[in-house]
Structure formats: C-alpha cells, structure tokens
Amino acid sequence: MTAKATVQRKPDFRHQSLKALETLALLLIIAFIALPIVWLAITAIKPQEKAYSTSLVFTPTLENFEIIFSDTSVIINEGTERERGEVGRDMLPNVVNSVVVSGATILIAIPLATLAAYAFSRYQFLGNRALLIWILTTQFIPAIVVAIPFFTLFRTVEVFGKPLLGSQLGLIIVNMSIVLPYAIWMIKGFVDALPGEIEEAAYVDGCNDFQILFFISLPLIRPGVLVASVFAFIMSWNEFLFALIIGREMRTMQVALMTTSGARGIMWEQMAAAGLVVMIPIFFLAMFIRKNVVDGLTMGAVK
C-alpha cells in the first residue's frame, strides 16, 4: 500500500511542476507580446510630466491626443511651465492621407486581383502556373528597387498640374506592387476552396463565362474578397518605405510619427498617442481576419 502511494506521488509531483512551468511559460509569452502594446497605450494617456518615467501613478488624460490633432499654430497651455510640446501637431491631414491612400489602393487592387485570381483558379491556360509562381516571387523584390525609378519618374510627371512625387496618387500606384500579388494569392485560395459544381451546372444551363463569374461565383467568394481587402488595407496602412520616399511631404500617419520629434528629441507621449491612432483601427481589422493572416503572409505556403 505504502509502496504504491509513493510510486503514484512521484509522477504526480512531476506533473504538477510541469504544469507550473507551463503556466509560467504562458505568462511570459503573454507579457512578451502584450507589454509593448500596453505600455504604448499607458504612455498615450499619461500627462506629459509622467511620460518620462516608469511610474504608474498618474491621472489619465486625453491631452496628448488633443496636442497631436490641434492646429500647428495654436499654442496649448500658454503661460504654463511646460516647455516641450506646447505646439499642436496637426495630424488630421496625415490620418486623411493614410485613409485615402490605403482605401484607394484596395479599391483599385481588389477588383483586379479578384478577376485574376478567379482566372488562375478556374482556367487552365498556357503558363498559368509559371505566371502564378512569378507573381509569388514579386513579393521578394526589395521595395527600395521599386522606389528608386518611381522617385525619378514621378519627379518629372505631373497630373493635374501637381507632380506625382509627394502625391496620394503616386503612393497609390507604387503600393500596387506590394498589394496586388498578395491579394491575388489570397483570393485564389478562396476560389480554390469553392466547389465547382454550381458553376458547371450554370454552364450546362447556358450561362456564359462572364455570367457565371459575376452572378454565381463572385457572390459566393464575397467573404474571401472582404478578407483579402482587409489584409491589403493593413499592408498599405502600415507601409513605410514608399510613404517616406514617394509620399514625401504628403505624409501618411506612419511617416507623421516621425514629426513628433522636436528640438529636444522625440516627445514620447505624443508619439504614443499618434501610435495608438495608427494602431487601433488595424487592431480591429486584424482581429477580424485573424484566421487568414497566416495564409495571407505566406501566400498559402504553410498549411
């Protein structure tokens, strides 16, 4: 009896300590992932005098958001002792730039990608597989190589009397190079998953290719197209290199983050507030497409 009990206790103890180790590992993982985001959020609502410390004792304030969105010329808290960051950052135009560029990018890219993805999925045509793989490899072209010739080209090209360099349109054009390949692969995955019988039946009933595409297949893959749109939106929203080189003075929010630095370095509480503005919409979008992000990033290579 006693012998049996000791035999049992030993693995039990091991089991317990393994469990504890696992819980510890989980907590570490959670802290590792969450800390930078939580800290950014905390800093964004800290009053300026507390932002430059690790103190957690403070009265939450929306002051920082006020500063980044108020007009550049308006001086806030005039006459107080504050020296840093009295000046508004006027970031509303930057938010508009980000929304317009990312929105227009998907409005152009997604319809093109949907048609192409449908063709790649449903038709056998000369070189379709090679073409598809070639599209996959375009994501490996370093963005700087795309940026250099477009920079020199856009310096000389004018649209409606404005140079393309530093315009929303210019940035939308170069964004195509990163968004389209991903969108095609992603949507193709959704079309592949759709059984072809319905389309076959429609074909037998006398529908032509385009009727089938627009009235039968497209409505069915709409959820997939939506997911790809969200993914593409996140990609162009978070894009930085093109925004820096091609966008120039037309700053998107990513580039506008850099404007939170002043004569005395970066004003972290403002950067954190601007960071939250950049991050929060993408948070919800990312949660929405959570299950598809991996397929998107790897273009379906890891399944």
Partner: protein
C-alpha cells in the same frame, strides 16, 4: 469544361499589366540607372538617346563603376555585415521563440486561448511604430524594458555573482546596470533584432500552431504509449514532422529580414556609428538623404536583388517540393 480560350487572359490582363508596370519596369530602370553616373543634383545624361535621327547609344556613358565602388566602399561592406548579422539573429530568434510559443499555447485552457488570441496583435503594429516603441522602452532613464532587464536579470545575477566573489576562489566582473542599449554597438543591433522578433515570433507561432494542428493526434498518442517523454516526443516526433514548415518559414523570414528597413529609421537611425546600418538603410541614405546618388543606390539595390533572387529561388523550390 468551359471552352473560350481568351476568357482567362481577359481576366488576368489588367492585374498583370499593373504588376508588370510596378515591378518589371522599376527592375529594368534601376538596372539601367546602375550603369550610369546619375545624381539627383543635376539632370542625368543617359546612354540611350532618342533623337531625330533614330536611337543613338553612347557606350562611353555606361560603366560598372557603381558596382566596383560598392565593393570598395567600407560602409557598404559594413552594411552587408550588419544585414547578415541582423538576419541571422532575428531569424534564429523568431523561429525558435515562435516554435516555443506554438508548442506551449497549442493545447486548450484559458491562458492558452488568451495567448493564442494575442498572437495576432504584433501584426497590427506597423514596423515604423514598432521601432519607436522599442526605442522608447529601451531608454536608459525611463524605459520599461531597461527597468525590467535591470531588476529581473542584472540585479539577481549580480547578487549571485557577489556571493560567488565573496568566496576566495574567483573574481567575476559584475554586469553593468547602466547599459545604454541603443548606444552600444552590439546591443543596438541585438535589440533591433529583438524588436523584429517581437513582431514575427508570434506570427511564426501562428503558422506552427496551424501546422501542429494538422498532425494526427494518434502519432503523439502512439509515442506516449511507447514510453516517450515530452522532450523525446518534441525532438523525435514533432520536429521531424514540422521540418518542411520550419524550412519554409525560415526562408520566408530570412527574405523579410534581408529587406528590413523601417525600424532602422525609427529605432536606431543606423547608429551608433553605423552599427545598425542595414543595406536598405544605407541605400536610402546614399540615394535620398546624403549623396543623392541614384546610380550608386541602384547598383547597391541590385546587389540586394541578386541575393534575394537566390533566396526566392530556394523558397519557391521548398514550397513546390513540399508535397
């Protein structure tokens, strides 16, 4: 099936034209620029000129000078080394930590689920913002990471070391409590790679979680019945089964690491003393910030293109040979 042969081409053409214009055109143009002396300060003179009497090519304007300049430029060589080490550290850490996370969070349970939901969060944080937030948190005076590293690692280790040093055996120097993380050549590069790891390890974990989920549970069951312990199961069963996915993910991450740019700008600005100047950053500096030398920038980016083409070929063969 459906017969009309021109239909797929009509569907593919618009997207294909846009992809060709936004990738093939710049690739060709950058190659062409790379053979020229081309500064943004004055209008370039190109070798191929289209005049009234047809196309004229002035061969004397073409040269490989930009390429030979690159390989004799110590700062370019430095950027190659920086990129190499950044890639090695960030890929190794991302894949290993990603694998660890995946194995830990894989099972059911409340904390597991919470961690699994969190895995997507870093994807929402743009690389530029990632750079800034890490720079803020690593600040030696008020950074939360600095505080955590000092109080959870440096102080306990030092306490242990001083006990050891009290014994008249050996003298081990204590760890420094006042490291300026982004002011130190080694730590700046390491922390840059850590910020990249923070963004990627969770995503890679998600990839592995998917792959682990598709492994038949009976395989693990069989190993357990055969008396294998957890470590044995991990190294003898899980790892070999995940091998193809690990290879693909490693290659993919290598490619992304080689192209890394955003965080260098927002986190270290290439410093201290060029210790974190990756290729992309140096190209950007030479082309758009300092020299405004488009020819040289193009040549250097072409060297990067060659490296990435090799990686891309490897990646594609890995993906295609998987099944």
């Amino acid at each position: 099936m459906r017969k009309k042969r021109w239909v797929p081409w009509v569907l593919v053409a618009p997207a294909l034209i846009v992809i060709i214009l936004t990738t093939i055109y710049p690739l060709l143009a950058a190659l062409y620029f790379s053979f020229h002396k081309y500064s943004l300060r004055k209008p370039p003179i190109f070798a191929i000129q289209i005049g009234e009497n047809g196309i004229h090519i002035d061969w004397s304007l073409l040269s490989l000078n930009n390429y030979s300049l690159a390989f004799s430029d110590p700062r370019f060589i430095n950027s190659l080394q920086v990129t190499f080490w950044f890639t090695v550290i960030s890929v190794a850490l991302s894949v290993v930590i990603g694998l660890f996370i995946a194995v830990v969070v894989q099972k059911g349970g409340m904390l597991h689920t919470l961690a699994k939901v969190l895995l997507i969060f870093p994807f929402a944080v743009s690389p530029a913002l990632k750079g800034y937030s890490w720079r803020f948190m690593l600040n030696e005076n008020y950074g939360i990471y600095d505080l955590i590293i000092d109080s959870l690692i440096v102080k306990p280790v030092n306490a242990l070391l001083s006990i050891l040093n009290a014994l008249p055996l050996i003298e081990i120097p204590l760890l420094s409590e006042s490291i300026v993380w982004l002011g130190d050549k080694f730590w700046a590069l390491f922390m840059l790679a850590m910020s990249e790891t923070w963004g990627w390890a969770p995503l890679i974990a998600l990839m592995f979680v998917g792959a682990l989920g598709s492994i038949d549970e009976q395989i693990f069951e069989a190993a357990r019945i055969d008396g294998a312990n957890r470590l044995q199961i991990f190294f003898r069963v899980t790892l070999p089964l995940l091998r193809p996915v690990i290879l693909i993910v490693t290659m993919l991450k290598t490619i992304f690491s080689l192209k890394m740019f955003d965080q260098v700008v927002t986190m270290t600005g290439g410093g201290p003393v060029r210790a974190t100047q990756t290729i992309n950053y140096y190209i950007h500096q030479m082309g758009f910030v300092r020299s405004l030398d488009i020819g040289y920038a193009s040549a250097m980016s072409y060297i990067l293109v060659v490296v990435l083409t090799i990686c891309a070929a490897l990646y594609v063969s890995l993906v295609l040979n998987r099944d």
